[in-house]
């Protein structure tokens, strides 16, 4: 197969958000943070397999297998609580591939290790990047439900001290985003960067 000609279909943010919301509705309740590991392991019955040296030897922290039965995760990062938020995002990202990209993977017709090498070598970096971008957008929407994000950020912004700060410094609400992302990141158990992306996302819609 000529992987050089691969074209990844465009998926817009609204569609990816809808898929993430549907997934959350099916497998979780409204509570925060989303327990992505339990959903993968207990509800989807996808094995989580800690693999030694996945990060050191392959520069990856989680990878879903092509039979969709297991997710390999770097052993050291799995047992180190400091990486928990990072891994939660990686797990959600792999579920993004699971939800969005099964058909695309099947279209690659990987039947041997040689095919796999060919795919990695020949698929255009840009097209491969789109797959990852879509999985990232899915992960962000899955772990940070927009409705909840709006509720939680309103709670912070309605705090009298924050309101005073806004008025006295004559600043708009959006300028607060980098600051409110700190408490919000703890609430949703994701990075501050992920929260900032999500906040920017709701500001633009």
């Amino acid at each position: 197969m000529d992987y050089k000609r691969t074209k990844i279909p465009f998926l817009d943010n609204a569609l990816i958000r809808e898929k993430a919301d549907d997934f959350r509705l099916e497998y979780s309740n409204d509570s925060l943070p989303l327990d992505i590991e339990r959903i993968i392991d207990v509800k989807l019955k996808i094995d989580i397999i800690p693999l030694q040296n996945l990060h050191d030897h392959c520069d990856a922290d989680a990878l879903i297998t092509s039979n969709w039965d297991a997710i390999y995760v770097d052993y050291k990062r799995f047992v180190d609580d400091r990486y928990q938020n990072r891994l939660r995002f990686s797990f959600a990202h792999e579920i993004g591939h699971f939800v969005l990209h099964k058909d695309i993977y099947n279209s690659f017709k990987i039947k041997s290790e040689k095919d796999f090498y060919n795919l990695i070598k020949n698929i255009p970096e840009l097209q491969y990047g789109y797959l990852e971008k879509q999985a990232n957008m899915f992960a962000n929407n899955l772990l940070i439900p927009r409705k909840k994000l709006i509720e939680e950020s309103k709670k912070i912004k309605n705090n009298p001290d924050i309101k005073k700060l806004l008025i006295s410094n004559n600043i708009d609400e959006q300028s607060l985003n980098p600051y409110i992302s700190i408490p919000l990141s703890k609430k949703f158990m994701v990075s501050e960067e992920a929260i900032e992306i999500a906040l920017k996302n709701i500001d633009n819609t």
């Binding site: 327990d35 590991e37 339990r38 392991d41 207990v42 019955k45 094995d47 989580i48 397999i49 800690p50 693999l51 030694q52 040296n53 996945l54 990060h55 030897h57 392959c58 520069d59 990856a60 922290d61 990878l63 879903i64 297998t65 092509s66 039979n67 969709w68 039965d69 297991a70 390999y72 052993y75 799995f78 047992v79 591939h97 990209h101 099964k102 993977y105 990987i110 039947k111 041997s112 290790e113 095919d115 796999f116 090498y117 990695i120 070598k121 698929i123 970096e125 491969y128 990047g129 797959l131 990852e132 999985a135």
Partner: protein, 160 residues
Amino acid sequence: MIFILGSYCITQDFGLTFQERRGKFKPQINKLKYMSLKSKNFGEFLKDLRIKKELSLRDVCKLTKYDPSNWSKIERGKICPPCNEEILRIWAKVLDAEDIQAFIDRAMLSQGMLPRDVFSNNKVVEHLPAFFRTLRNKKPTRKEVDNLIELIKKDGLQED
């Protein structure tokens, strides 16, 4: 299916007579009637109990203070469960096993009965990642793909 006898526990007990071994493990034969060797292996049984209790791999390993890589390997039939009755008793309690002694007996019986699961090329392909993007946000290098295939093959082979 070929069964191998390779576990540390079994080889340790080869010097004992059958009665001595039976005495040591004290399997309750009446309870074991339904535990045919053809039935689910211990790993699958263990996973079923964990899922029934709605515990993730991380949860169960925290509760039992057991290594998650080894727990995962036991569930997938790559290594034998431990022989230590105290450890197994803790597992049975954490997993709410209906009959703790039957749980322990089943783990003991599974010692050395791992099917020789040769990791065929087809299986390697199934276990390749669907998509492999590195943390530096680039396609992996040839060396990284080689390393990954080696790690997958190593994980797929049971430890004799």
